[in-house]
Amino acid sequence: MKPQEPIPHNYTMRSLNWIFLWSSVALLAVTVLMVGYDYIRGWKWFQREFLRMQQERIESDLQAAEQDQNKTQLAALDTQVRQNEVDIARHRAAYVLAQKDLDSWEGEHYKADEDYRFAKANLDAQRYNAETSIVQKRADAAAQQAEYKRQETHVNDLQLNLQEVTRKRDAAKARVDAWLKKIKDAEDKKKELMAEIDLLNKQLETVKLAGGTLVLNFPMLDFINPTFKVDQVVIPDMFMDVNYMHVPRVDRCMTCHRAIDRPGFESKKEAARLAAELQQKLDTFQIVAEKRKDAEDRIKQLKRIQEAELDTLNPWRTHPKLDTFVGSASPHPLLEFGCTSCHRGMDRATEFGRAGHVPPNHTMEARWSGNWGVFSWGNMLRPWRYLTGAAEVDNQRRTWGWEENEFNESPMFPRQYYEAGCIKCHAGQIGVDQGEKITKAEATVELYGCYACHKINNWRFTDLRKPGPDLNGIAEKTTPEWAIRWISEPHNFRSTTRMPSFFYQRNMVDPHVVPAAERAQNIKYQDAEVHSIVAYLFAKSTHRVWQPGPAGDAGRGKQLVESIGCMGCHVDTEQVKDEKSGAMRLAKRDDFPLERNYGFNLTGVGTKTHAAWIYNWIKNPKAYYADAPMPSLRLTDQEAADITAFLLTLQKPQFLQTPVRNVDPRAVHDLAKGYLINTLTDRDAEAKLRSMPLNEQLVYLGQRSIEKYGCYSCHNINGFEGLKPIGTELTTEGSKALHLFDFGFAHDYVAEDGKHEEILHNVPSWVYNKVRNPRIYDDTRTKSYNDKLKMPNFHLSEDEARRITTIVVGLTKDMVSPNRLAAQDPHMRLIEEGRKRVSQHNCRACHVVDGRGRAIASTIADTNFLPPDLSPEGARAQSAFLFNFLKDPTVMKIRPWLSVRMPTFHFTDAEANQLVTYFAEEGKGDPFDTTRGMQPSPQNVEIGRQVFTMLRCAQCHVTTPVNPENPPVPNVADTTSLAPNLTLARLRLRHEWIPDWVRRPNEMIPGTRMPTNFPHDAASGGFISPLANAIDTPAFAQYKAALLPQFGNDPVRLKKTMGDAVALTDYLRDYIWSIGITQMRAAGTGGAAPPAVLPTQPSLPPAKPSVNAALRR
């Protein structure tokens, strides 16, 4: 055949082969690279680094443990083991014989056991045969039955045999064991001594990146069972909304935050704090005996951390509050709550940049986002950096490729606002246990009345009164001259006022922000608005006439103000000493407890209003307006007159002399027209305005301005009833998308207190700067006058602003399963409703409630004259008494030596019931019981009387019955004794509470004057009775004589009783019960305010009604 003509190739094979070679090499290289990139995840490095830290930690522990080791004891044990081995070797023949015997018996036993089990299996099979033969009516039924019986006997025999062989085998084993026992004992003891070291060594094996661990984590092999892996906790009660369904959160934070629930990796600072706290607990014996050793070990560990060369850095730090969070014994264990339920963040992310970390300030942001761009060398070289440990350097610099992610719907709370995370579960509570910050933040929002303008649809912030006073009677109280200056700038009058500044703020008049021409115009407009608001308020005000009181004495008035309790809610000074400089300066709200900011600062009140009004107001605040939060202190006419005289001396005449610009009619016209042309044409508006005199224009503009600024949200104002609050609803503000916040063009500014504030591009920072400087986002914006931001300036300090921000950003849409919400059971709801009343009526100004409060204490030097501590009130007070007392405190005067008065709050029955129920629920007592009618036996009373004398209770407590007339008038002795009259106890106190109180007064109310007669016995936990031994002393002979008959003349029984604190206090109770009075005056209807002094005739003509009907809308 002719050889085929070679067909030429289109390509040179040689070059194709070369291309093939090199492309294959390149493919291999990129495959390796791919595996490398897949292998090198950020979190792996954190885990590896943590293993190294653990290894170091264990090695140092090991060193310490080895040093502690008892060397001589170990050596002795070693010799003993060797001795025994020698011993066995010497009697080898006997030992071998015994061992052989055991071996043969083991064989026997095995055989017998097998025979038995096989026979039993056969028997079961035979039972089946026998039964089926009967059911199928087979001929061999009888034979099968017989066979079954035979086998049964056989099995029984085999079982007996097995038991016998087992017994013999055990006996042989015991003989061998006797030989081995000696050796084993010594070895066990050695193991015990070495246990700690062994454990540490075992732990060391697991954290060393060598051998098996290395293989398990090797690239490509690590799919089997790596030790580096993503850790996660599924939180079934916290949901993510992924549209149309809710999925549980899955937290993977602990993939990098390895030590979050392991104590021992605290930062140095935290370690110092924790060590100090724990030491303090140890010193005050708050830790039970069996846990003390652990606590000491922990302190040692914390000391080691403080002395270590390097500080532990995040993400390897331990959670600083393991007792409250994350710890397995804490109320929020890691496995149930994870991390994102409080902190928020992207639960499933395992990269720093994508986990939703939010920087707390610019410095941190810059450090975090030292970004390697997509094409940068840093990114390309990542595997190299990983292998050479250059990543460690990156970690030191903390440049972690963080980037802002505006689509993340739940970014973490930055460091300043961690407590915001409490709200989603704890919003049904007034105070959060161990959450001082969040509790205070909520109280701040309540006190400053944020909820009034911004609806917050959340139990905590609903159903609260309007924070500002009623303005419907403003003309009776003050003058337009004062009101104009006040509205212009309330802080000029009182530096601590909660009334914010609406006018002449940054976006209107600040020369750095507003151009000069616009500024002049703005000032004119603002003047017009101020004047018009005042004009409206005075035009709409009632004009009742308040009758002046008798002449008063200012000196006595001052005394009264300082002593009867005014200072619980009010402050009477504006000058405080600066803690740093020592110089006097203007006070800020933060200088006083929140409770004392509840009422206004009394300075300047004489300039603000006049004698007749003050006199009537303090006599009966509810007469001025029904919702007045100020209670009545039941002042006599003379007292009221004295106080009035004193308050009138608090003058600020310079305030009324500050110049006020005249209102510019053109500005009024322009502004009014601006509103009118919303509904009218320009021409009609002009005509309408021409028909109105200036005053009418002012009233019209005032109405519109009040609407614009939302004054009615905080104050009751005629004509604005039922309007919706002015501000943005904040119910889910924390979940609002970032792009919905208008950041304007401002990046930083200097706050009023001189601090340089920066605005970060995240929601918390926006809110913080908004409340700190409400008009800041108008900077360099081009806006028309009415479009400018209107939120008033509260002049918040940094701390106040942080508190408010915490609440606002904490109001999220985050979904929590209802069983995780705090305080949801009906019992807790009753308590929380009561707590809400307590907060609303500022009870903590005078009383300690739930362990917090008594702001008045700072003004009363002698602690004996403080109003009572109500912490145990629930268990203490009878509900019937409490109800009457709350409705009308005059029904009983318990502590006549106090000059502070329990005010009459004019509670409604519902409110009083809420409070009574709260106390009863908190004290876990039934609201009502039959104990008041109990008649203790005369014998008990007699014993009680003797004990009462022996313990010398009468030194302080008076037992003379109070005047049976109602109300009971205290005896003279009562006012000096500083202890309640005991005849009141039966009406007031709970039956079971009295003995409890006598036994442990100091536990219930720390620092009480009531002495502890029955100290705790540290050993048994019971009480020690001082009478147990005293009864036998000669000094107590007469009591013994009197008591013996009550115990059937049995000194043993007597002695036994005298040593029994519980019995003794019960007798005391019975005695006290027997002397108690049983009648109490019922409270009046109380809730309704006493009728006001009605005007005889209006002194001023009422405002012309013609103004608005036509103009309104």
């Binding site: 067909i7 190739h9 289109n10 390509y11 094979m13 194709l16 291309i19 093939f20 492309s23 294959s24 390149a26 493919l27 990129v30 495959t31 690279l33 791919m34 990139y37 993510m240 909304d241 992924v242 549209n243 992207m346 761009g373 997509v374 094409f375 990114n379 390309m380 992610n405 689509f407 993340n408 719907e409 998308a737 792009h739």
Partner: protein
Amino acid sequence: MTFIKDFINVLSASSISFLLLSFVFAFIVFFNLLDGKLKSKGGYAFIGLGVVIVLAGLVIRPLLYLGVAYFLIMFGLATLGGRLWDSRVGLRLLIGGAAAFFLSMLDPNFYLIAAKPDNVPIGAMIFLLGIFTWIALRKAYLNDKQIAIGGIPWEKTESDEKLFTWPDLVYTEMLCMILLTIVMVLWSIVLRAPLEEAANPTSSPNPAKAPWYFLGLQEMLVYFDPWLAGVVLPTLIIVGLMAIPYIDTNPRGNGYYSFRERKWEIGIFLYGFVVLWSFLIITGTFLRGPNWNFFGPYEYWDPNKLVPLVNVDLSEIIWVRTLHMPLPKLWFIREIFGIGLVLAYVSLPPVMARGPFRRFYLKMGAPRFYVGSMLFLIMMALPIKMVLRWLFNLKYIVHIQEIFFNI
């Protein structure tokens, strides 16, 4: 530098549709160039058209940009002439384009958009598209030259030869496979997968963009109602593509590259694919920012940027602005001009068949000609509407809100 960037921004922001239009002219000029007809009668007509546009630009400002673009392209092509297909010129064009692109990366705003992992492949697509179009046209040019001097196309010279499946086909295929795998792996390593947070219907990203291959459709929605831009036009695109083999029965140019033999076929296809489809994708990717506003290539994508919406209907332009009359109440009368215009537009084919396109009509036969020219007219409706929108703020030509029918 800033000035140049600003100029490019302004140019791109206001003259994108003029560029489209100048491409139309450019293509027509292009045919003439290849035939060496620039100095012919037709050539003078196109230069005259350019002069008219520039003069009009003195009145309608944006038209000035159009004039500039028109002349740039026309004289660019005229200067290069046949040399455009010289491989050295092609290389220079490629290097110049790449240099401009990567130098632009120094601009932070440009970098932000162009270096986004989703956009990188589209950036690459620009170059690939250019390179392959150029190669195809170069081959066509060379073949045309051969044919002109009586030779045969290059492809024909080798079509009689035989090759082994192995190694000539399979080996090279395998090499391509390996090299592409390398590219894909490197790509996946270097560029992060553009995954975002779980979608939330109440908080959509701004701008909300379709996948890149649908950005042309999304861009069309700016100019037409959804029933047109979303239903009719896409359907016609598919139908039109399917109809091509039946309409284009030109037997010449089969199996080899040639432009001269298929001027109109290639011209129309390139216009529809490169200028309309690809260009709209590029526009949608790089030039459409937040709120679907237009942003120049170096402009910061400010989500707060506001563009006034002052578009008017044809009926308003005619009745109110020109005739100074109120709008007639009856929609039929009100829209009579628009309807007339649309009807006139769709009844162009018979006119075309008689007039300048008579030779096509004769060559193709009536059915093919009418179907083809209808499809062509509908395709051209898009740039026409775009230009009208950009020049005259024209919203709708026919706007019958009474029956929800808008064009």
